[in-house]
Symmetry: C2
Subunit: 159 residues, 2 copies
Amino acid sequence: MNRTNRGDSPMKRALDEARKAGLRGEVPIGACLVLDGAIIAAAGNETRVSNDPTAHAEILVIRRACAELGQERLVGADLYVTLEPCPMCAAAISFARIARLYYGAQDPKGGAVESGPAYFQSAICHHAPDVYSGLAEAESAQMLRAFFAERRGQAITTG
Amino acid sequence: MNRTNRGDSPMKRALDEARKAGLRGEVPIGACLVLDGAIIAAAGNETRVSNDPTAHAEILVIRRACAELGQERLVGADLYVTLEPCPMCAAAISFARIARLYYGAQDPKGGAVESGPAYFQSAICHHAPDVYSGLAEAESAQMLRAFFAERRGQAITTG
């Protein structure tokens, strides 16, 4: 299997969702959930617009895919995310029994897959997906850098 | 401040929510969120009824309290939970800027506060609440033990 080709389209959708999130003032992170070759849900962060600190892109696509399918678990699903998931999202990915996780940039400050507690390798993790990182890494990271640089710029000019 | 007396009533509410969750076939865990002395939200697990693997009691009270108050953070809030939070809930507690976490029983198999990765002490955690554990510990643990013993019994009789 050519994993790169297989991942191209859902990762592009995740990047589109990240871009849209940034345009509405959210941290530009996007996710896309695929089951049996079909995109079931896609979202960018919505913590601000929803007043919900749990509304990370990954949580949203898991919740929406489960609602769409009427099931509590997403066995066999692929999740594409533009940034390394945080502990909240990593645990949700495990609870949902997602089979494969593809992500873009690493997040040494907040990630929990390769960074920090490396949740999927910990003794309290009872289901770990296969993990593929580095997809569209440069584009994902650039979008985040530009977003935070602009916010710092605004803070300086309005501070 | 007498922390035990202060915690009595919200923890009783969390235990009530845990009991109700168990009666509807959910893992019996309950939570209650208090701000400025008032209970803003209380819930038990709803993962089965909602087909939502993220619908842990803590996530639900955080989401509902934020919706109720129209804000993304719960600065100064107290969260009462019957069981040690998992990594998903621990990270959500941090993101919501909850000030104090009170919980009942420890969860060595799935908890992330004192057990496993001890998220609040990790380098990727940027806000940690004050933590008080052991409130109503025996009652919380007994409810979970009875629930899982009954499920094992059912599995044996129907298996």
